[in-house]
């Protein structure tokens, strides 16, 4: 294909993908995951190690309810980044490692499961190639690793960072709703 067109379509694809995912939903759920992780660190209640990640299944229905009617639907071809077998392999290693740490390790060593799950999120966003998400996926595991390594990570700090991200998510979501009012149905426009 013509190089000029290829470069242009690549730039446009990035721009559309950013707009499509600039609704704050992911920021909110990443924040919620951190708040849950913080509560888990505080209380050791196992429910909170899962509660943070379970609502991720709500993202697709919420996008369908709020995002698609406003900016429309588009299917993006996936960027050719990391080969899928490598991603799946790395994800499996992290997951199995997390499970072993959780069930065979001591109470304190369960904490790395949070970093491991965030590592899975990193693989996911690398696969999807979203910029802001990539930043989250890199900095949040670092936040945990460095915080735990230096023994300065307290549940309060984790909850605070999560709360800030949740607030950012809500702010972005409100801005998104204001910027993109619902569009009329398009059923008869193209027929």
């Amino acid at each position: 294909m013509n190089d000029q067109i290829t470069e242009q379509t690549k730039q446009l694809r990035k721009h559309y993908a950013r707009t499509f995912h600039n609704d704050g939903l992911l920021d909110f759920f990443v924040g919620w995951a951190l708040v849950s992780a913080g509560i888990y660190l505080l209380t050791s209640l196992i429910i909170f190690s899962f509660a943070g990640w379970m609502p991720i299944i709500l993202i697709a229905p919420l996008k369908q309810r709020f995002v698609v009617p406003r900016i429309g639907y588009a299917k993006f071809s996936k960027p050719a980044s990391i080969p899928r077998p490598i991603l799946i392999g790395a994800g499996a290693v992290i997951l199995i490692g997390s499970v072993l740490v959780t069930f065979l390790g001591s109470q304190e060593s369960r904490v790395p499961i949070i970093a491991a799950l965030l590592g899975l999120a990193l693989l996911f966003v690398l696969d999807r190639g979203f910029n802001r998400l990539t930043v989250y996926a890199i900095f949040i595991p670092l936040f945990f690793i460095i915080g735990l390594g230096l023994k300065v990570l307290t549940p309060a700090i984790v909850i605070l960072v999560g709360a800030v991200l949740m607030a950012l998510g809500i702010y972005l979501f409100v801005k998104f709703l204001q910027k993109y009012p619902p569009e009329p149905e398009d059923e008869d426009e193209l027929s």
Binding site: I5, K10, L12, Y16, G72
Partner: protein, 108 residues
């Protein structure tokens, strides 16, 4: 045309008039960037009015450059447009023809 200035204006008449319209070129570029998109998305991406977009989509469909079909996306019926192989080729041909002309203009 002189030998030291290879830009031949006659080549411009070979440009594809279906794609040459700014509105249709925008639509083609948007559809080239995604696998498929609905009317609302293309409206935002091209900043065309809904009526203008509808008319130009019809022209592109008639030329065989795009395909318009009804699909269920997450159980919601949508009218979806996507670029066809003929459309991709037409856009490439258009770029191949216009590109060198623009390059010559830049040099002059």
């Amino acid at each position: 045309m002189t030998e030291d200035y290879p830009l031949d204006p006659r080549e411009i008449s070979g440009l594809d008039r279906v794609i040459h319209s700014p509105a249709r070129l925008k639509i083609m570029l948007v559809l080239m960037s995604v696998e498929e998109a609905d009317f609302t998305f293309i409206t935002h991406a091209t900043e065309l009015t809904r009526g203008n977009l509808s008319a130009n989509l019809t022209k592109l469909e008639e030329a065989g450059y795009i395909k318009i079909e009804k699909k269920f996306i997450e159980r919601v019926p949508k009218t979806i447009a996507s670029i066809t192989p003929a459309g991709k080729k037409a856009l490439e041909d258009y770029s191949s023809l216009l590109g060198p002309i623009l390059d010559e203009l830049r040099k002059s």
